[in-house]
């Protein structure tokens, strides 16, 4: 079972604002789901290498040449607030000017 404080911490790590009702619901629901994970602890896995991916991944490399791609304007078209080719964001440090 997760405490209310733990749920608040997870929400902060997840960059999610949850209101009071959501925090309460989440506490109950996450706790109930996590209980079902306990069965995994009963399986001996000491010598089993973790499988991160279905394929043996090799890092593919390509030639270091410029290929056709989006223009800056196309890439930035979905930005909610922009100034030319710059993205406008609010203050990064709380209390400072944006």
């Amino acid at each position: 079972m997760l405490t209310r404080k733990e749920v608040e911490e997870i929400a902060l790590l997840a960059r999610l604002y949850l209101d009071e009702d959501e925090l309460g619901t989440m506490q109950g629901e996450l706790g109930a789901i996590i209980e079902h994970f306990d069965v995994m602890a009963s399986v001996e896995t000491t010598d089993v290498p973790p499988m991160t991916h279905p394929l043996p991944l090799e890092l593919p490399l390509r030639l270091d040449v410029v290929l056709p791609s989006l223009t800056a304007d196309e890439a930035l078209r979905g930005v909610p607030k922009r100034d030319g080719d710059l993205i406008v964001v609010p203050a990064i440090i709380p209390g400072s000017e944006s």
């Binding site: 960059r15 604002y17 209101d19 602890a41 399986v43 973790p50 991160t52």
Partner: protein, 490 residues
């Protein structure tokens, strides 16, 4: 095959367009008119692109007139799950956080469909970001099951499955992270094929869980699934997880010939609470395959019961990372806030729905310092054990046959808790964890007239065997000419 154009197969449509029996322009108008008449009630489409489809149809008709070679899907009307990005056409992933976003590029699979001459009719509804099994988690609308409108179409590719079942497209593309193509295909009485991980490019697919996601077709026949897969399969240098492997002729495998094929029946998939009608349909399917010369062998996949908890650690963990990009800064909706952190939290709090928030929270928790070994690492080790089970079983059999789902389509609001909903995925998850190809093929109806799906699982890159066995099932116990009576019957 005959019948009205709305229910022509992919193969049939392409042939009739090529022969000039119908123009692409007329077919598009017929399809758009049916969508306008039927989809208000069905809710399969989030958006239609009538102008784009008519423009492309005109081009196909012009090419035909000028004797220019047509692509393999020329004139075939297709709908795309709305987590596949489409240049100039709004793409939402079923989420409010992407409302109004117009992508500046096409996904590789969309490029390939367009190049093959397919007519993109629009975008299909889905559970938000692919997270759900009923399409009830779409932030936009409810999609109904065409066989019984009081029931869900399944999910997360519910709009894709419902559209194909109801004759609102000849084929659709869906994505499958834990069963999201196969389960709605089973619920809506259509064929759904999840290719081997890496067979189809994920470039331009809105990521849910990157080591599990795969794009595939939903169609009314097995051969149609093969034809669409043929077009979308293949290496893509823009996706580093795309496999550089030869692509065989899939449609040539739709022969129904299973003579000598060894079909494994994993006993863990036939134990427990399977609906009696589903069980009986599977028994008839097994018998039919034996009658056609296949041998069936009982096998064991001992770690099956661990697939559900392992999946619900791995998938949310990957999702929590993938969905970090939705922060209100570069695209999507931005909420007002006092500083950057406040903007992130409020944009995400307002933009994501409850299931997405739940999975982000779950994944964030599983990756937290202090919990990582107990949850994430452990789940990855169990994933390795599940893969080993399959590797070993596939030394004895060519394909495996299981039910796609424990029950047929359920009613709206039938699942009391999130975990109840997750339990419906027990037969489809392991396939994604192991990266295998899987297919759901209709194998009969329940006493209430609801479709039942048989699932085939294959060795990596052996979609051909699935298509071969699937076409045998289709011929013996498939739905034939039966169509949903629940909505817009023709």
């Amino acid at each position: 095959m005959s019948g009205p154009p709305e229910f022509w197969t992919v193969a049939d449509t392409a042939q009739r367009i090529a022969s000039g029996e119908i123009t692409a322009g007329r077919l598009v108008d017929t399809m758009l008119s049916r969508i306008a008449n039927v989809d208000r009630e069905l809710g399969a489409y989030l958006a239609t692109d009538g102008d784009g489809a008519r423009r492309d149809a005109t081009e196909i008709d012009r090419r035909r007139k000028d004797n220019v070679a047509l692509g393999p899907l020329a004139g075939v009307p297709i709908v795309l799950k709305d987590n596949l990005v489409t240049k100039g056409l709004a793409t939402t992933a079923g989420s409010k956080i992407l409302q109004g976003w117009i992508p500046p590029y096409d996904a590789t699979v969309v490029e390939k469909l367009r190049a093959a001459g397919a007519l993109i009719l629009g975008k299909a509804n889905l559970d938000e970001f692919g997270m759900g099994s009923s399409t009830e988690r779409s932030a936009y609308k409810k999609t109904r099951n065409p066989w019984d409108t009081s029931r869900v179409p399944g999910g997360s590719s519910g709009g894709s499955a419902a559209a194909v079942a109801a004759g609102l497209a000849a084929a659709s593309l869906g994505t499958d992270t834990g069963g999201s193509i196969r389960q709605p295909a089973a619920f809506c009485g259509v064929v759904g094929l999840k290719p081997t991980y890496g067979r189809v490019s994920r470039w331009g697919v809105i990521a849910f869980a990157s080591s599990l996601d795969q794009v595939g077709p939903l169609t009314r026949t097995v051969k149609d699934a093969a034809l669409v897969l043929q077009v979308i399969a293949g290496h893509d240098p823009r996706d580093s997880t795309s496999l550089d492997a030869p692509v065989p002729s899939f449609a040539a495998a739709a022969t129904g010939d299973v003579k000598g094929m060894k079909i494994g029946l994993p006993k863990e998939y036939f134990e427990g609470s399977i609906d009696a009608d589903v069980r009986a349909a599977l028994d008839r399917t097994i018998k039919a395959l034996q009658d056609k010369g296949a041998t069936t062998v009982e096998i064991s996949l001992p770690h099956t019961r661990l697939a559900l908890p392992a999946y619900y650690v791995v998938a949310p963990a990957e999702a929590s990372s993938n969905l970090a990009r939705y922060d209100g800064i570069r695209f999507g909706k931005r909420a007002d806030g006092t500083d950057l952190l406040d903007v992130y939290r409020k944009s995400r709090g307002a933009g994501f729905g409850p299931e997405v928030k739940r999975r982000i929270m779950l994944g964030t928790h599983a990756l937290r310092s202090g919990y990582y070994d107990a949850y994430y690492k452990k789940a990855q080790q169990i994933r390795a054990l599940i893969k080993r089970d399959f590797d070993e079983a596939f030394t004895k059999v060519d394909v495996m046959l299981t039910p796609t789902t424990p029950t047929a389509a359920f009613r709206f609001n039938a699942k009391a808790t999130p975990y109840d909903m997750y339990l419906g995925d027990i037969f489809t998850l392991a396939c994604n964890l192991a990266g295998l190809p899987g297919m759901s093929v209709p194998c009969g109806l329940t006493a209430d007239g609801l479709p039942i799906g048989a699932q085939l699982l294959g060795r990596p890159l052996d979609e051909v065997s699935l298509i071969r066995a699937g076409s045998a099932i289709e011929a013996a116990v498939g739905l034939g000419e039966r169509r949903p009576a629940g909505i817009g019957g023709i």
